[in-house]
């Protein structure tokens, strides 16, 4: 798995190092791996682009301490497809097939951090699909949420929720 990922990473950085383009952007992952990308890719990442804009394009090396070298290639791959206008249902299905739950969450956080709306929307949907109709316990485990309710509080909440479903009469106030 690790080898597969790193080979994928190499091919990405090679394909992104285009000698004819002087202004490639270097994205530095949290674990200090440099990914060279075209400025068009950076444009997809609002956070990166606003950083470049703020420095009038003088700074082209951007540290992304919150994103690991494992996740960044996926983000770049998605942005490349997006620029090429090739985000299809098939591509998204293939893309998500490669990802385990942890990776989906990490990419979601990365997409949020980089402010890539399309990727964020897509991953929201993926997460939603993976938790849909699952029990509260399952969803807690999925997100790694610590249950900070006391047993009494939780029991009361469950009761209230049941009440939401069954306990109150709709008020018949007529507002037309």
């Amino acid at each position: 798995m690790a080898e597969e990922v790193s080979s994928q990473m190499n091919s990405l950085s090679i394909s992104e190092t285009n000698p004819s383009s002087s202004a490639t952007i270097s994205l530095v992952s949290g674990d200090d791996i440099v990914f060279k990308v075209e400025p068009t890719i950076a444009k997809e990442m609002e956070t990166v682009q606003s950083f470049i804009d703020e420095t009038d394009g003088k700074i082209t090396t951007i540290p992304l301490p919150n994103i690991s070298s494992h996740d960044l290639p996926y983000v770049i791959e998605y942005c490349e497809k997006s620029i090429a206008g090739k985000i299809t249902k098939e591509f998204e299905a293939e893309f998500v097939k490669k990802l385990n739950n942890e990776e989906v969450k990490e990419l979601f956080l990365a997409a949020n951090y980089l402010n890539i709306k399309k990727l964020l929307d897509f991953l929201s949907q993926v997460i939603a699909d993976r938790i849909a109709n699952k029990s509260v316990e399952y969803v807690r485990r999925y997100f790694g949420i610590e249950n900070d309710f006391t047993p009494e509080e939780e029991a009361k909440l469950r009761e209230e929720l049941a009440w939401t479903f069954t306990g109150v009469d709709p008020d018949d106030e007529d507002e037309n």
């Binding site: 690790a2 990922v5 790193s6 992952s29 949290g30 674990d31 690991s68 070298s69 494992h70 996740d71 942890e102 969450k105 990490e106 979601f108 956080l109 949020n112 964020l120 929307d121 929201s124 949907q125 997460i127 939603a128 938790i131 849909a132 109709n133 509260v136 969803v139 807690r140 997100f143 790694g144 949420i145 610590e146 249950n147 900070d148 309710f149 939780e154 909440l157 469950r158 929720l161 939401t164 479903f165 069954t166 306990g167 109150v168 009469d169 709709p170 008020d171 018949d172 106030e173 007529d174 507002e175 037309n176």
Partner: protein, 387 residues
Amino acid sequence: MSSGRSIPSVDRISDLPDPILSHILSSLPTKFAATTSLLSKRWKPVWLSVLILNFDDKAFKDFVTFRKFVYSTLFSLRDKNTSIQSFTLKLGLFSRFRQREYNRIFKLVMQGGVKNLNFDMTGKHCYIKLPPRILSCQTLQILKLANIKMWEFDQVRFPYLKILHFERVDFTSPKCFVKFLYGCPILEDLNATSHICQTSSLVLENLNALPNLVNVRINYDEMDNLMTLVSKTRILHINQVRGMTWKTLPMFPNLTHMELDSFHVSTRERKGCRSLVEILPHFPNLQHFKIWFMFSSYRGEGICSECLKVSSDPTIAPECLTSQLKTFSIKGYKGSECEFNFVKYILQHSKVLETVTVKSSRLEKKQMLMKLALCPRSSTTSKILFG
């Protein structure tokens, strides 16, 4: 490599701001979103700020429970000022809100600035008087109605509506249907598999009312005027085609894709039928053309020969064939003489044709298709695919 991975059990998602969390919940049914209030203190209020509400009574044990859930969510739990971007209400066979309840629900939804409204009364064909307020919703961009019989209404005003889908929506009169369309001046996507009775007598005031149409999917209707109303579209899909009986078919100057679906012709309907070749000049920019033939086994003989009649004079080949048509697909091909002659005609006259796809379920299809493959073709690069 592994140094950059976070430890799985650390919950970083819960640290994200409310709008991001509620975004995750927004594509889930509201009933499920409500259960996430049990996850933790952090998550407890999140579901109440979701901008997309989706109520489907299928997930509830009965209508009383469903109604209570809808009411408490909308009127007591959510903050009245929280906006509602999208609202879906799906009701099954036994669900019955009263008229004033619909009014109250939709009033709140409108106040929330709804852009996308889906209302489906599955399996319940009763006349619904949509609250007049809905019919002049300034914010609405997408409206999908299903399984509804529309009661009379005075006025429709959807200045921003781009997508309108009617799935089994019946109107009391064709006039009502057209009145509805007139209320959507910038409509781009119309999907109306509605029942609109025979309407040839209807006179329309403004035939250019829908200039922005791109994608239209309608049932075959004899109403020439309806065809005129949608004539600016680029994509046209006609369902349940029963011959070509339009008397005054308009020109479709922008049309590039056309699909004639479930094309079936009974012996009785042959009268006044025009041929496909005869109507093709109305689509001068047609590039992609699909036909799906339907055969009713009890009627036996298949496609009415009038529809597929071809002209033997090559000088009058329609413009779309000589300069535009790139793909032609035919499904349900049975190989009768008139079908064969029709496909042969297309092959003979289409100069820029790239692919022809023929699908047939007949046993003797190999011979049938061989016969087609041997036909002379205008475009030297065209391919014939058989399925």
